[in-house]
């Protein structure tokens, strides 16, 4: 909040990080840093969103992200509506747009949406006046996760410039990986994607990243390693023969950690499959910042809710 005093945040939606500038990303992180202090106060509430209504529209299961957004909104004194629906065959019931319009008719100011279909938050932002914050859509983007990831790295390392970061696992079906790639590379990090070719996305050569199929070969160079969860629910078609074989090549084991730099930062967006992509000893070990990521998520989400609301209020005044 102290830095970038002249910068004016102007987005009322946060759909993804692909079109955000380095400056915008840094501004969110700086704002989050201001909010981090709130968590250490005895009264953990700010009046910033008093009288505003935030709806959590979660069409997919979520514990961490949802609770984090709920807590972030209530710390800013907003009223929070929880809406959940496991919608796969949307066409049979009310459409997404109708649902959102109904909520908007009740005076909702900010819609936080998680949806299984890539593009659903974008669709929503075109159809309603409220602010839209993407809490993960299909395998498109998960901007607040990536923001808390880079926030955590920045806290840990001071800066991302020149850092070598590895993202390991199911890149093809990962919205976290996509948002991470944008955020990390924009902040100056060098990103390597590591996984079997069957879990790498099409056109990966056009992304600003390097690719490796061999974790052992690249782990020595990494400053940060982000282990993605194997998302069995999104895969299909057996992209690898067995969990055992996957772990053999791509699991972050204590043994493999011996090859890494001693101060390597170990991250995971959660929920972790212990013993699959990461061994417990590593997940709970001294290099792990997995729980710090969760804590930082709160500050980042407070910052995002604060900023989109501010932009919407400003745009309302300008009219």
């Amino acid at each position: 909040m102290r830095k970038n005093r002249k910068f004016q945040w102007s987005r009322k939606h946060l759909i993804g990080l692909s079109d955000l500038s380095r400056k915008e990303i840094e501004f969110i992180l700086d704002t989050a840093q201001g909010f981090e202090k709130f968590s250490r106060r005895s009264i953990k509430k700010a009046p910033t969103l008093r009288g505003k209504v935030v709806v959590n529209m979660f069409f997919e299961d979520s514990t961490r992200t949802r609770n984090s957004f709920t807590l972030a909104a209530s710390r800013l004194s907003a009223d929070v509506i929880e809406f959940s629906k496991k919608a796969s065959a949307v066409s049979k019931g009310e459409t997404l747009i109708d649902t959102a319009r109904n909520l908007e008719a009740m005076g909702v100011d900010i819609v936080v949406i998680r949806h299984g279909a890539g593009g659903a938050p974008k669709l929503l932002s075109r159809s309603i006046n409220a602010c839209v914050v993407n809490a993960g859509d299909g395998f498109h983007e998960h901007p607040t996760q990536a923001l808390l990831d880079v926030y955590t790295i920045r806290r840990q390392r001071g800066s991302l410039d020149g850092l070598k970061i590895g993202i390991v696992g199911d890149i093809a079906h990962s919205r976290v990986a996509r948002s991470d790639i944008y955020a990390m590379t924009k902040l100056g990090a060098k990103v390597t994607l590591i996984g079997p070719p069957t879990l790498l996305p099409g056109g990966v050569e056009n992304l600003p990243v390097r690719v490796s199929y061999n974790l052992d070969e690249v782990i020595e160079d990494l400053d940060v390693i982000n282990m993605l969860r194997i998302q069995f629910e999104r895969m299909g078609g057996n992209p690898f023969p067995s969990v055992r074989e996957y772990s053999h090549y791509f699991g972050l084991t204590a043994d493999r950690m011996k090859r890494a730099k001693p101060d390597i930062t170990v991250m995971h967006p959660g929920p972790i499959n212990r013993g699959l992509e990461i061994e417990s000893e590593v997940a709970d070990g001294p290099n792990s910042v997995i729980l710090k990521q969760v804590a930082n998520g709160l500050a980042v989400r407070m910052a995002v809710l604060f900023l989109v609301n501010q932009a919407a209020t400003q745009q309302g005044k300008d009219k």
């Binding site: 692909s18 949307v90 066409s91 459409t95 997404l96 747009i97 949806h115 299984g116 279909a117 890539g118 593009g119 659903a120 974008k122 669709l123 159809s127 859509d137 299909g138 395998f139 498109h140 983007e141 093809a172 919205r175 996509r178 996305p201 099409g202 056109g203 990966v204 050569e205 056009n206 992304l207 299909g236 078609g237």
Partner: protein, 432 residues
């Protein structure tokens, strides 16, 4: 008995382009008794309806061998009446409906039903292809013979490809008995899976499952091997990739009885259009890359593309408003197809009017084996009069079609249909 009064129409001073008969000249054309009666300079005739076509193109009525008019079953999206009205507004005097209706057109009475609704609409000629397999399920042959007798002009399971190779072999062999074309929607499900746009970088960035070009090309290649064996007439619908163009070109060079069609959208649009998750650009096969567009245009230039077809596919607005993953595939466009083809092919120097009109008239007519697409004396007077340079703005809200899922909304179009005559009768006349 009341004697039917034959209406005479004299079309004066138009540029008659009749690609089949290799005519491209300014002349008059007299329509009498549903037919072309005279062609020549300074024709006069008493008491006739006169169309001044000076500066305009007079051509055989357009033929679209790939439309979805949704009847029976989905008449909230389109009816044969509304689709036919849209067709004549686009200059089309004959269309071929696809059988993926509810129920599907997989037996003779359904063929007759489509014909009857077409006659009642009294706009364009309405033909129909029958399904290759019962219920389009890919399991058992539909009654091709009886549908052929009822007037079906070919067979297809369009909407999806016939997956099973042995079934396709059987269908080709059997269809040969009636000399009707097997028309295939090439899409291998094992490769296409749940893809909703072209596979690659763009799909990765949007987080949408992609369809690899191979899904189309593998089935096309497979089918061509079956054609090699059976010598059955085979037509590849809406080809969309450079690879497909190559496969067809080689098959033709080998003398195999293979034809193909290209759509306005695959000749004009790329996957970039999907950037904003606008479902009006969701179509199957998906929009591909600029390289594919160039390859299709090149295929037009060297004659590999036989027919231009719209794949006019109406959908409800409420369904197109769903998430990109859930929205149905398809776009409407029969009413603005002509200026789109002009933009893709003539304005880019790919071909001239005569070559373009050939792909819209006699060449598709040959695929479905109907005696149309020509304007010699004595031919049935299916005629379109086009102002080649008239500019207008595409506005889907003004369409005769019942649906509005048009990706070209607001585009500036060049080229306008002024009159459409079907069997000598003016069935469409542009307003103003």
């Amino acid at each position: 008995m009341v004697k039917q009064i034959s209406k005479k129409t004299l079309i004066k001073n138009g540029r008659l382009i009749d690609p089949k008969n290799k005519i491209d000249q300014v002349t008059d054309l007299l329509v009498d008794d549903f037919k072309v009666a005279k062609i020549g300079s300074h024709l006069t005739d008493s008491a006739v309806h006169i169309i001044d076509a000076a500066g305009k193109i007079v051509a055989p009525g357009l033929i679209d061998i790939h439309v979805h008019f949704r009847e029976p079953g989905d008449d909230e999206e389109e009816t044969i009446a509304s689709g036919s009205a849209a067709a004549v507004a686009g200059g089309y005097t004959s269309v071929v409906c696809m059988p993926n209706t509810h129920p599907p057109v997989d037996e003779a009475t359904a063929v007759e039903y489509v014909h009857r609704m077409g006659r009642q609409a009294r706009k364009t000629f309405v033909y129909v292809m029958g399904a290759i397999t019962k219920d389009r399920a890919g399991q058992e042959l539909a009654e091709m013979g009886l549908m052929a007798e009822a007037g079906a002009v070919g067979f297809t399971d369009d909407g999806c490809g016939l997956q099973d190779a042995a079934m396709m072999l059987l269908a080709m062999k059997y269809a040969s008995m009636f000399d009707l074309v097997i028309s295939q929607h090439c899409e291998d499900h094992s490769l296409a899976k749940n893809g909703v746009m072209n596979a690659g970088y763009k799909a990765t960035v949007l987080g949408l499952p992609g369809v690899d070009p191979l899904a189309e090309e593998m089935m096309l290649w497979r089918d061509i091997q079956l054609v090699r064996k059976t010598k059955a007439r085979y037509h590849a619908q809406h080809i969309s990739t450079a690879g497909s163009v190559k496969i067809i070109r080689e098959a033709k060079q080998q003398g195999l009885p293979v034809t193909c069609e290209a759509t306005p959208h695959h000749l004009l649009l790329t996957e970039e259009a999907v950037a904003d998750y606008d479902t009006n650009f969701k179509v199957n096969p998906p929009l591909r890359t600029q390289k594919d567009v160039e390859s299709l245009r090149h295929a037009v230039a060297d004659g590999v593309i036989d027919a231009l077809a719209t794949d006019h596919a109406p959908h409800l607005q409420s369904e197109k408003e769903l998430e990109f993953l859930s929205a149905p595939c398809g776009m409407v466009g029969i009413e603005c197809a002509l200026p789109l083809y002009r933009k893709a092919l003539i304005d880019t120097g790919v071909c001239d009017w005569s070559a373009m009109l050939a792909m819209l008239t006699w060449r598709p007519a040959e695929i479905i084996k109907v005696q149309k697409g020509s304007l010699a004396v004595g031919d049935r007077a299916d005629i379109v009069v086009i102002d080649p340079d008239a500019q207008w703005s595409i506005d889907a809200s003004q369409f005769y079609s019942k649906s509005r899922n048009c990706p070209y909304q607001g585009w500036q179009a060049k080229g306008k249909v002024l009159y459409t005559l079907v069997a000598g009768e003016v069935r469409f006349e542009a307003k103003g």
